[in-house]
């Protein structure tokens, strides 16, 4: 009862902040391993034919010990490297940032406003040093249809947990 009230109160404010936006929530799973490094994660937008449209975020080790940067392992995000990474000089303003700890993360993609109306896929690729790699795709329509289902999810099994993409009208 209490929580319901809370939601009702906070919803209008949240909706206003998220107006015509693309919001992503994702989970980096906790690993029970002897040697753990935070994963490199790339997120980008593709058309349904898998052609590259736009980068959303790239999380990599910006200041590893004993090295100038962790760009040496960016190629392990091999689909992203092929689609976009190899064309870029890191860091990229508004796109690249440091790796994130295991747990839930949310981000709002302001760059979605430049997308032409149509069908897209949100692609997320994670690669971990001495670990595995996983890539997930979440389809979405831009802009969201008013009153329509504007939230889609994918579930990772190894390097990624649940990934949810919400497009708000």
């Amino acid at each position: 009862m209490n929580s319901k009230k809370l939601v009702a109160v906070s919803l209008p404010a949240a909706a206003a902040a998220m107006a015509a936006d693309l919001n992503v929530s994702l989970e980096i799973p906790k690993m029970n391993v002897a040697e753990y490094h935070r994963p490199y994660v790339a997120m980008w937008i593709e058309k349904p034919d898998q052609s590259f449209v736009q980068n959303v975020a790239v999380w990599y080790d910006v200041r590893p010990k004993g090295r100038k940067s962790g760009t040496t392992w960016l190629k392990d995000l091999r689909q992203w490297w092929r689609k976009s990474g190899r064309e870029l000089t890191m860091p990229v303003d508004g796109v690249s940032g440091a790796t994130r700890a295991a747990g839930s993360h949310t981000l709002s993609f302001a760059g979605a406003k430049t997308l032409a109306p149509g069908s897209y896929e949100f692609v997320i690729e994670a690669a971990r040093e001495v670990g595995g790699r996983e890539l997930l795709r979440v389809p979405f329509e831009w802009p969201a249809k008013r009153g329509g289902n504007n939230s889609q999810s994918a579930q990772g099994t190894t390097e990624l947990g649940a990934v949810k993409v919400t497009v708000t009208p």
Partner: protein, 263 residues
């Protein structure tokens, strides 16, 4: 007349024997990786001749005729050269962005002639041929062989300068970039002989990892009228690509090691 014929037959037999032995053994350059990112990049390359791919079990490749070419076409000096029992190795720092080419190009000559009623034979590097083969020898038979063994690696964005053919010998035409190969995709390549399309020649594409399977999984392809062919790469891994052709009466052989990445 009869004698000349025998001699000719002998030399043909010799050529066939050498060609066969050269065919059974596979020469290759095996890079530590083909795709590089970041700002501290080195590639280390193994060079060997073996029966199965890609194992060090026969002889090391000699590196006297190794050339390392940077993305801008300049020639680099490979470092830490070593030749062991089964393989040679060398390292190159990839300071520039783009595609590098490493090539071992061997030119050899086989000859037979008659001296004091005996048949003499010689086989060696083309550079030594004039010194070792008496120019005015009786019943002299000479044939040349050339061998080009290549591998490509890319730092950052793939570039095409090192892929430009020189117009000499048997060369690869890479319509698909050799460092942009992915499982489940088709790659289009071709061959040129002295700059002209090498139509209807046989191309072998063999995956590495032979020790862990029974089936060779080798593909035998033919170039079309334009000298082109398509390779359907179904699985990720290192592949050995080979073709032979007749170039101006000499036998020319080409080898490239290609890495196919998973999607």
């Amino acid at each position: 007349m009869m004698f000349a014929k025998t001699n000719f037959l002998k030399s043909v037999t010799l050529a066939v024997a050498l060609a066969t032995s050269a065919h059974a053994h596979r020469a290759w350059l095996l890079p530590s990786a083909t795709v590089f990112s970041g700002d501290d990049k080195w590639v280390t390359i193994d060079a060997a001749i073996s029966n199965d791919l890609f194992y060090f079990e026969h002889v090391p490749m000699r590196l006297e005729n190794l050339t390392a070419i940077a993305p801008d076409g300049s020639v680099l000096k490979p470092q830490f050269l070593n030749t062991g029992k089964y393989r040679s190795t060398f390292d190159v720092e990839l300071e520039k962005s783009g595609t590098y080419k490493f090539a071992v190009v061997n030119q050899s000559v086989m000859a037979s002639w008659e001296e004091n009623g005996e048949t003499k034979r010689w086989r060696g590097p083309a550079a030594n041929a004039d010194k070792e083969i008496p120019a005015n020898a009786a019943k002299l038979q000479k044939s040349g062989m050339s061998q080009r063994i290549e591998v490509f690696v890319t730092a950052g964005k793939p570039t095409r300068k090192v892929l430009e053919p020189t117009g000499k010998g048997l060369e690869l035409v890479a319509e698909t970039h050799p460092n942009d190969l992915f499982a489940g995709e088709k790659a289009k390549f071709g061959f040129l002989v002295d700059g002209k399309p090498a139509a209807n020649i046989t191309v072998t594409v063999a995956p590495g990892g032979k020790r862990y399977r029974d089936n060779l999984k080798e593909l035998q392809l033919k170039t079309d009228a334009d000298g082109m062919f398509t390779v359907p790469f179904t699985e990720a891994g290192m592949y050995w690509l080979n073709a032979t052709a007749n170039v101006g009466g000499s036998r020319a052989s080409y080898v490239a090691t290609l890495e196919v990445l998973p999607q």
